[in-house]
Symmetry: C2
Subunit: 138 residues, 2 copies
């Protein structure tokens, strides 16, 4: 049996975050000591590791809740799980695409000014004022 602090160390999930997961129903409420402190078993550890791993991969709490639901029904089709993973992948790809466009534009803007001049003539500030200076939409 682990205290919440021990669980936190093992999973690298912060203590208040663990309590937050419990509050939102992602994590089952564990047993308590006579003094009202949480005590987790191996199942609790496993569950939290699952959550942590999924969060690290960028899944939303909602998506994780759905995945956990599915885990609880081993006989159900796993189509939903692959759907969630695929959706997450598209989401990540969309974000990458957008960020790469921003990166390009920021490089262009940064190159325009070496920081030697004076605010009035700064290409960075000018670029932000005037979208027309941009090479493409973003």
């Amino acid at each position: 049996m682990f205290s919440i602090g021990q669980l936190s160390k093992r999973t690298k999930v912060k203590v208040p975050t663990i309590r937050y997961y419990e509050e939102t129903g992602l994590l089952d409420a564990p047993e308590r000591t006579d003094g009202n402190q949480r005590r987790y078993d191996a199942a609790g550890l496993e569950r939290l590791s699952f959550i942590k791993h999924a969060r690290d991969l960028g899944f939303s709490i909602e998506a994780i809740a759905a995945l956990i639901e599915l885990q609880g029904h081993p006989d159900r089709s796993c189509q939903e799980a692959t759907d969630i993973a695929t959706a997450q992948l598209s989401d990540v790809r969309a974000k990458i695409k957008r960020l790469r466009a921003l990166e390009k534009e920021l490089v262009r803007i940064s190159k325009g000014c070496d920081g030697d001049g004076v605010s009035e003539d700064c290409y960075v500030l000018a670029s932000l004022s005037n979208h027309g200076l941009c090479e493409r939409e973003h």
Copy 2:
């Protein structure tokens, strides 16, 4: 002179967001009609366009406030502006890097299951349960 709605249409910034920017001090409080409605001039439009453009590039409200401050002092060195832009660029690049790692891992996980099977045997769920199945850290 524009109403807040007209300003919203021109800049593509939503009305409540404009009010929010005013509340946080990013946007100066404009004149008002006798009936207490906001009326913006060209300067207000320009300022909001600046903010919108910077937000689109991912700058934080705080960073934008600093850039606006600088704009108000045309004689000051623009080092700070280039610093902010450079920091933003590193930030974007760090995010891209992380997302690309996630993308790889998600592709790998998704490939492991075609959605035909049953939840119990699902590689997606198994991967999330067991970090050891991952090819690298993320």
